[in-house]
């Protein structure tokens, strides 16, 4: 869990999403999106998308493996939009049509840097 994390200066508008969407692994981000309501996913998606290019530009200043805590927090929040997009852009609902949740599937090893 990643409680009480703060975002870099200039990204305060995204702070309401930190508690739910900032997670350490790809698998946890998948879980979070899968159990969220479409409303919440859309709300996060819209807010994060609006700041995504700013976030990428800000984060590009740091090495991927040595980010200060506030930058890492923003990075993890940015990564969560990869999950939110599946719901918003593909299924137009939180999970694949006719799929089970919970299920016995895990991303047991995610991509390096906050993938788990």
């Amino acid at each position: 869990m990643t409680a009480h994390q703060s975002l870099p200066k200039g990204f305060e508008d995204l702070q309401p999403f930190v508690d739910y969407w900032v997670r350490d692994t790809s698998d946890e981000r998948w879980q979070q999106r899968s159990k969220a309501s479409m409303e919440d996913i859309q709300c996060f998606y819209d807010a994060m998308l609006a700041r995504a290019e700013d976030a990428i530009a800000y984060l590009d200043a740091f090495p991927l493996d040595r980010m200060p805590d506030d930058a890492a927090c923003l990075f993890k929040l940015l990564l969560a939009i990869g999950q939110a997009a599946i719901a918003v852009e593909m299924h137009r609902q939180p999970r694949a049509h006719h799929s089970n949740f919970p299920h016995g599937i895990n991303i047991s090893q995610g991509p390096k840097f906050f993938g788990g």
Partner: protein
């Protein structure tokens, strides 16, 4: 025997090669009994998984002298210890202590040159030799030389480690792979830099999920949002017909269609944001300079048509290596009972060097997870359908040729008393 489509137009007109008959297979309905019968599963355990060469891991999983890993192979009720010794030799053993049968190595992987049993402390070198027995003098005629770990036949092809549970395998790995091993030798396995792994445990016969990856016929219906936009075409190929379907002795492949003109839809903002870097393909996380070398290999995309997305190659009985412009991935479809499966999908990708590339990989991981979810959930439904007894046979179209070939080869192994006979 082989069949490939010769040009893209054939797909548009709807005419096609007949891959099934060109592979020498018949065209009738096929029994579903082996998907639901506990008795046939018991027979598969012996006749197929007890005799075939089985993929167990990649050489990169043993990066250094004294690296090891342990994997459970439920279908053989085996715990398998695979080691690399000081000389670099890779060997596999039953992970079972010769004293009273305790499991020896207890971590899934690591680095050590010797293993000490947690029960009474018998110690083995990573080449299997028993080297230490506490209070040995109290045993009766103990011959340490004969009490090494029980070894399992091991061989390597293109960095893929295979094992065989026959005490003396009737055929070598080279013979087992046959022409498959020749055609796909030397494929540049791009971006072997890091692996992403998705694992699924679910309630369906192992062949159902293997079958789901053996055809693209289901893609437009089953994966309408996750895959169909890139792997079918509303006009040119709305049923995602394959470009080629080939058999190589026990093994088989098909070339999947891909829309070369696919661009992310305008309202797929994140897909567009994440894919601003050149990744070679939609379902890929690799950089395209490396794709050219892959595409140049004669075994890969044998039609050489540009509307190609991936070659699905299925090594008998339960292993896929899939080559695509986005790198390669593998599937291990492990039965855990007649109606349960453990599936391991391992995807290779480069290590991200930029934030945007890492975001692209996250999107890629998310897409794959969702595809897996769609297929797994569907397989569980099929299992229920088949176990109901409502149907006894299934109907297979030409694009489902690989399933027909798989069942044909499995039948032979189920019947044959010797592997030589099964391979005829």
């Amino acid at each position: 025997m082989s069949a490939v489509l010769e040009n893209e137009e054939i797909l548009e007109g709807g005419s096609r090669e007949n891959f099934t008959q060109m592979a020498g297979l018949d065209t009738g309905p096929v029994s579903v009994e082996s998907y639901r019968s506990p008795e046939l599963y018991e027979r598969e355990r012996e006749q197929v998984f007890g005799r075939a060469w089985l993929y167990i891991g990649r050489i990169e999983e043993l990066p250094n002298p004294d690296s090891y890993f342990v994997k459970d192979i439920e279908v053989r009720k085996a715990s398998v210890l695979v080691t690399r010794d000081k000389q670099g030799k890779i060997s596999a053993f039953h992970n079972v202590c010769s004293h009273r049968g305790n499991l020896l190595a207890l971590q899934p992987s690591g680095s050590q040159s010797r293993f000490t049993c947690a029960y009474h402390g018998w110690t083995y070198r990573n080449n299997g030799e028993l080297i230490g027995v506490p209070d040995q003098g109290r045993f009766f005629d103990l011959d340490k030389k004969k009490l090494g770990l029980k070894s399992i036949a091991t061989d390597i092809w293109e960095g893929f480690i295979f094992i065989n549970f026959q005490p003396e395998p009737e055929v070598s790995l080279k013979e087992f792979l046959g022409s498959y091993g020749e055609v796909y030798a030397g494929v540049p396995l791009v971006n072997n830099h890091q692996t992403m792994v998705i694992e699924a445990k679910f309630n369906a016969n192992w062949k159902l999920i293997a079958d789901a990856f053996a055809e693209a016929y289901h893609v437009p219906k089953m994966h309408p949002a996750t895959l169909a936009p890139g792997f079918a075409h509303p006009v040119k190929n709305k049923f995602a017909r394959p470009l080629a379907g080939l058999t190589y002795g026990l093994h088989r492949s098909f070339s999947a269609y891909g829309d070369p003109e696919y661009v992310s839809p305008p309202d797929s903002h994140v897909e567009r944001l994440a894919c601003k870097i050149d990744t070679g393909s939609l379902l890929g996380a690799d950089l395209s300079e490396e794709v050219l070398r892959l595409r140049a290999h004669p075994g890969v995309n044998p039609t050489k048509l540009p509307c190609w997305s991936a070659d699905v190659t299925w090594i008998f009985p339960n292993f896929n290596i899939d080559y695509s412009p986005g790198g390669y991935w593998t599937h291990e479809f492990w039965p855990t009972s007649y109606n349960t499966t453990r599936w391991v999908l391992t995807i290779r990708m480069p290590i991200a060097t930029t934030v945007r590339q890492r975001l692209q990989q996250e999107h890629y991981a998310a897409r794959w997870g969702e595809v897996v979810l769609e297929d797994v959930t569907n397989c569980e439904r099929i299992q229920k359908g088949l176990e109901s007894g409502a149907i006894n046979v299934m109907q297979l179209q030409d694009g489902e040729m690989l399933i027909r070939h798989s069942l044909h080869v499995l039948d032979k192994w189920m019947e044959a008393d010797t592997v030589a006979e099964a391979m005829k």
